[in-house]
Chain length 407, copies 2
């Protein structure tokens, strides 16, 4: 008699994006002909770069030829890509071995799947506001009980507020796994070396493991800010880093990323190498590698030519971010994020709650924003804008806000 | 204090392929210059077909162009592909809605991930011999206790032997989830309509759920044999079907497949649609879709031109299978599988155990086989050969066996 995993019932409705969709559709129905500009979703709009596309054509031809056709590669990824990524980290002064880099099909699955190698009753800490995938996968795996005041009981929420510059204080309770995201989604805050060091020291002392989501690290241009948690001494003993080609190279649909599980990483009672071996076992058992076409394209992204092109794409998005930041500031909104990060996090004016502001922006400026409340209790009173749109839309949106938003 | 998932410790070493590798390397070291032919692994060797490659070039160009670039698609897959697959099923008289077809990145991950939506203490039944991924994911998710006589305690093993034509009898114990694989890996046995009906009736009566692995269904040419479990009345209420483009279209490295969760499917206490909604929630939370390049290539596979080309590829492999079957039979080995299935399952001669025969085939015929014991207790005394090799190697291997294997 098959029974379902009852933990799914604990999940609150995926309220955010369906509700945005519902309100947007209703607006369009009532206002035919009005052009809406969507700055809510974090999807890329710049096409793949020339180095990547050239390589994709070569790969297609290789796959058509019996003598160069590739079947299964290793579940952990094509060695040339793993080596190229290990080399990539040297730019930040981080030394990794290729076998510490596991290729994945984008950051989201691994951010959830990593829980598989840790105890089922682990206590998980997350930032609040938070990218929902960390939380929902924690609920599905049975680590929470009820839901109260916008929080799941059993999860430790670490507040990110204006007061602490949107980077959390250390948890007061004992926790086992700590999700940290920098540059942060949704707040756009970027952790400093000192901030990360505090968490690394804590994790070493308490034998906790940090799951570090660095999916937006390519947007950091300030050389003083860490682009990898491994720039912090000791992080290899206590941190797993997950990253992605999605935003870096327009691979949101192509699906490619990587997870670093250092050999030195330890959990309670393990020797160096044992946690890495567990992840290796998980991947070889339940994964068959990212698409080889995506992996070979990823090698092109990491080439010298590819990196130059990627730089241009990032500059484009970061110029979008600047336009948004400046425009919002001009109309008197309090803005953070948007430098070294592709997300702009702004305070709603006049004490509006985030859904009230969503409606206001929709009706007055015809701009779709993401209400902060969708990212957790501490997101209330804020909204998120994404810099991944097309330039003309970004300019139009900011123009509409300046002209028509009544603050 | 992070602790590991102790269930991983219950896993027996992934003994099979590392041991094959070890013995093969040792042989080559001691016998320099001798050419070994590997017929053990189920990896494809035929290149992608022209319709697919042509489409890949088009996709590369579309992704390079701002106006046709694609970012995120739905986690459940590109609708055109889901619709094309639903249409594909009509060939077998099976009516599915596109939203019942969830695109995945190959069969293996979903065959494991599906356990996430069912209760953690579900009792799992598997065929013996068995594709190891079903078993290992059951162990990792904590559904077993010890390991004894080649079996995990807590799993129900359903023997597949010569006596029952390598298709199991119904389990005597109560079970919740039943993995069935047809055409079978490793035995090459193909379930008849009547055999599947027996299991569907059982599942309906006991409210069990069948997870049906149809990854080799494209190799069925006998029109009397079911290519989908949904050809059996009632299967939609109790069976999830997982399939793949891997062997069908040479996509082993490209990574693409699909999982059908019918709207009608029910578990204990659920209404129609609820299990499907759980899988939808699982996928949107922990997966971001298969690579869009792979998905668009998959659409080309399902085109009329693509299907004709695929037919040729399958014929090529099935002719390999015939060469192997005939060759083994000629030297007096007892052979099954290899018709309507790309695997040949043979009995070791003279009561040799499967590793003894492995060594014999290696030393005398210079052919690498897969020892049946690697697939479970009931695999002992057998070995598996794969038809996915290149023709010239298949012919050489069979020639070597005929000339040099001392039986």
């Amino acid at each position: 008699m098959a029974r379902i995993n009852e933990n799914y019932k604990k999940l609150q409705e995926g309220y955010l994006f369906p509700e945005i969709y519902k309100r947007t559709v209703a607006f369009q129905k009532n206002n035919p002909g009005v052009e809406l500009i969507k700055l809510g979703i974090g999807d890329t709009t710049r096409p793949l770069t020339m180095a990547v596309v050239k390589h994709l054509h070569e790969v297609a031809d290789e796959m058509a030829d019996e003598s160069t056709y590739r079947g299964y590669d290793a579940e952990q990824g094509i060695m040339e890509l793993r080596e190229a990524l290990a080399k990539h980290y040297k730019k930040y002064g981080v030394n990794l071995k290729a076998d510490e880099v596991f290729i994945n099909d984008g950051a989201k699955p691994d951010l959830a799947n990593l829980q598989s190698i840790f105890a089922g009753n682990s206590v998980v800490a997350v930032q609040d506001p938070v990218y929902p995938a960390y939380v929902d996968s924690t609920v599905i795996s049975g680590k929470t009980t009820g839901y109260k005041d916008g929080k799941y009981e059993g999860i430790v929420y670490m507040d990110c507020t204006e007061e602490n510059g949107f980077f959390p204080d250390l948890p007061k309770q004992n926790v086992d796994l700590i999700y940290l995201c920098s540059p942060n989604n949704p707040t756009g805050a970027v952790a400093t070396h000192e901030q990360l060091k505090k968490f690394v020291d804590y994790a070493q002392e308490k034998k906790a493991v940090i799951i570090f989501d660095a999916a937006y690290s390519a947007f950091i241009s300030d050389v003083g800010l860490p682009r990898s948690i491994y720039e912090v001494d000791g992080a290899k003993t206590c941190a797993i880093e997950v990253n992605s080609f999605s935003k870096l190279a327009g691979f949101t649909g192509v699906r490619l990323g990587w997870t670093v599980v250092p050999h030195e990483l330890c959990a309670e009672g393990t020797k160096p190498g044992e946690v890495q071996a567990l992840w290796d076992r998980r991947q070889t058992t339940m994964f068959n590698g990212a698409s080889n076409i995506a992996q070979l394209a990823g090698i092109a992204v990491l080439s010298e030519e590819g990196q130059e092109e990627v730089r241009e794409v990032i500059d484009y998005y970061m110029h979008n971010a600047k336009i948004i930041r400046d425009g919002l500031a001009e109309v008197g909104l309090e803005v953070s994020g948007g430098t070294n990060a592709p997300y702009i996090w702004a305070k709603t004016p006049n004490g509006l709650d985030s859904w009230e502001f969503f409606d206001k922006a929709l009706n007055e400026a015809h701009v779709v924003v993401t209400p902060g409340a969708g990212f957790g209790q501490r997101g209330e009173g804020h909204f998120r804008l994404s810099a991944f749109g097309k330039r003309e839309n970004i300019e139009k949106a900011v123009d509409n806000i300046k002209k028509n938003l009544k603050i």
